[in-house]
Amino acid sequence: MSNLILGVGEFGASRTSGDIVKTFALGSCVAVILMCPKTRTVGMVHVALPESKINPEKVKTRPGYFADTGIPALMQQMAGMGCDPRGRGFIVKLAGGAKIMDPNNTFNIGKRNALAVKKILWKYALGPVAEDLGATYSRTVSVSVTTGEVVLSSPGRGEWKL
């Protein structure tokens, strides 16, 4: 059993029973959690920004940074682990995309991230079965590969299941 810790713009997947896939302190970033029941694989990408066109160079080193390149990159990795390459049958959960109090449109990157993630998922005919998006708190996300249980936590707010 080990923890697969994902930093900003990182993605990864595990099908080892006992593993925990985890990412810390999502602010406006969004964690996209993909679960393949057939192979019992759990994948996650920590998306920081909506579109890669802002810095195509970054895509080469960290495709997970952007919604439009991070989700396909995770799909590809999971396909290499025996999952359907188009994500058929996947269970999707989303968390993050927080905002500051009283944001204007310029500062609401969290909302843009959440919309961009959903737009890319729609291309795969996927949508979240559960989501905890927006609001004004940071979130740490842990996913159990054994049970598929997704637990969110935030300092001062405790833990809750998604």
Binding site: G27, I100, M101
Partner: protein, 292 residues
Amino acid sequence: MKQRASKEEILKAIEEVPLLSPSASRLLQITSQEDHDIKEVIDIVKCDASLTARVLKIVNSVAYGLAHEVTTIDRAVSYLGERMVAGIALGDSASALFHKELAGYEGPKSELWNHDLRTAIAAREIARFAKEPLSPDLAFTAGILHAVGKAVLSDFLGKTANEVLVGIDSHEVSDYLAGERDLLGIDHTEAGYVLAKNWELPESLQMAIRYHHRPDEAPEEYKLLVYAVHLGCIIAMMCGSQASDSLQYHLNKNYTEYFDLTSEQIASVMLEVNEAFDTLDSAMSDTKETSL
């Protein structure tokens, strides 16, 4: 919310915070002046053996990936930049404050330093979009220092994080600052300001610490800097923070009087914050242990 400590107790605790080292204090003074000479910075570092060792160790760390070892302070300062050198001196001098566990905010060790470093990088980048000239070096240094008051308040807040958040969610208090004031009679911006005065920091830095969550109240001559730190702090929280007060402050929309910023530019600043943070934190972590 029930008051847990008096303002007098907090002020007494601030008086007991150790002073900055003479090198750190002098570097902050010099780098906050617009017309200073880099030679002054180099001379201060050269006169401080432990700071010299730290600066050379950081510039030669793996994170900077230099092909040849840097052995002179002149080259090291020129390569790292003055703001980084001042930041190293400050980080060393007040290491215990910056790297302590922020228990009162349910934050882990080094959370304050991580947030401050992200704010510094963001404020430096935001300075590029100012409508009037603003020194990126000064914005960076102000960012490093802006939330230092939390290190003092954390010890008095105890397990109040949930209580403050419930108060904010139910609109009993308007933000985390108001929660701090209800509980302790003082908030972290005022506590930081008192500490900055004790440390005899330049007035520009004192103002950035005091007004970073209410920039419209800052004296006119410091508003540009204070707004840069205000926005830098917000961007740092958007990039992620493991403390209970993360995102629990208001954005002052009057920033548009001082900065031209689009959503894409904010995204670019966030990208730079994450990239530069990884490099700086990795470079400094090699030697962090020795200073704790």
